[in-house]
Amino acid sequence: MRVTQGTFSFLPDLTDEQIRKQVGYCLTNGWPVNVEFTDDPHPRNAYWEMWELPMFDLADPAAIMFEINACRKACPNHYIKVNGYDAAKGRETVALSFIVQRPKHEPGFRLARQEGPGRSIRYAVESYATGKPEGERYPESETGPRR
């Protein structure tokens, strides 16, 4: 199941050229860009690990592509996203955030039901991948669903 989080996530994966253009858009707006990665996908998990530091004062998207590629190399089968932060007074928030890499196989989410008082039911979603410890969730060798 495809995780849909951030902008463009219902579209087919962006090509590098498209990523470069989106990053260029961030830079022309003067938004510092950072790269984040995780192997703990969850609709409510917005705090991913940061790849290096946020990048300020850059003129060209090449530098960010360079870091994205470095992150891809280090985490070949993780989720990676790029954030553009708008520091303008009054906004001060992430203005654009999109996924630039996802694991080759995303096993999807399990719906857990918990019996509450008075026969009420509480629901929870849990990624099948998070059953394993961090770093082992999306093995590099795993390229698709095993049949």
Partner: protein, 319 residues
């Protein structure tokens, strides 16, 4: 049929040259820079080569991007940074770099203070320069032969890697004194082979320096009287003999100080000043310079007290 194709391409060359508007930059270079004939010719050659190379790639004659990294050698104030800025424009207009920005860096910006500090620092500068031009001033300081554990070596390795890949659209220009750059390349043969163009900036002749001075004054709406012109020539001969003479940069600083003395003369003078008075530089404004007062026991510094130090003399627009 074949002829028609070639004809079409011939037309393309003229059109491509016009489209790139490189000629404008080259003309500007001619106008704004006095002398430096050899450098100008080399730049023209490089521009022509790059244009032809681009056309060749368009028709599928070659696939490899030419090596663009350069080395500018010359004494201080000979116009290296100014030419580098023009080079950025030329490369940008020909489409070899994505933007015409120039990032100037020295050893301090690239090399760290302790283990593990250098690589992020160098990468930071490289990232800032990506898509444009990185100008490394006094590049030979990166390598210190006397200290083999110097962190400069790490910077050189990272630089080499980025220069080799050329993927990020980064062009590096190394600059510095000729002899010391030669030595730098001798100790770093890898660097030498990755630098395609070596441009040597000769010192300006006194005539050229005078021309530069006149041009600077003209831009700032001042003018020399005839005696002032002669005084300035005398000033130049004396100034050039001093050890810290930095060509056009020294001329610019001299003019700044002449302007100060001029203002002081007008201020302390009696009576109202005319429009002409405000623009005219007299010989007295020049002759008051320290260079003319070689008092015994006084070190010939060439700079009046409180003048910017040599470090402060560094500037972006040496012209």
């Amino acid at each position: 049929m074949d002829h028609a194709r070639i004809d079409g391409e011939l037309l393309d060359i003229a059109q491509a040259f016009k489209d790139s508007s490189v000629q404008e930059v080259l003309d500007e270079l001619d106008h704004q820079l006095v002398g430096l004939q050899e450098v100008k010719t080399r730049i023209r050659e490089i521009a022509a080569f790059l244009l032809v190379d681009r056309l060749r790639r368009e028709v599928g004659l070659t696939a490899e991007r030419p090596v663009l990294h350069m080395c500018f050698t010359g004494r201080p104030g000979t116009g290296k940074t100014t030419v580098a800025m023009r080079m950025a424009q030329i490369l940008h207009r020909l489409g070899y770099i994505r933007r015409d920005h120039l990032v100037v860096a020295t050893r301090d910006d690239l090399v760290g203070q302790y283990v593990g500090h250098t690589a992020p620092k160098t990468k930071d500068v490289l990232k800032k320069a990506m898509g444009g031009l990185l100008f490394i001033d006094e590049a030979y300081y990166l390598y210190r032969r006397e200290n083999e554990r110097d962190y400069g070596q790490e910077t050189i390795e990272i630089l080499l890697q980025v220069m080799e890949q050329q993927r990020e659209g980064l062009v590096v220009i190394l600059a510095g004194y000729k002899e010391r750059m030669d030595e730098f390349f001798r100790s770093n043969p890898g660097m030498r082979s990755r630098v395609a163009h070596h441009l040597d900036f000769p010192d300006f002749t006194p005539d050229e320096l005078e021309q530069i001075a006149e041009m600077m004054l003209g831009q700032q709406m001042y003018f020399f009287t005839q005696p002032a012109r002669e005084a300035f020539r005398a000033y130049l001969t004396r100034r050039m003999a001093l050890p810290d003479f930095a060509n056009a940069r020294s001329v610019r600083n001299a003019i700044d100080r002449i302007k100060l003395r001029h203002a002081n003369r007008i201020y302390s003078g009696s009576g109202p000043a005319t429009r002409e008075d405000l623009a005219r530089i007299d010989a007295t404004d020049i002759l008051k310079s320290r260079v003319f007062q070689d008092l015994p026991g006084d070190p010939p510094s060439g700079e009046p007290a409180g003048a910017p130090s040599r470090v402060g003399e560094r500037g972006k627009n040496a012209i």
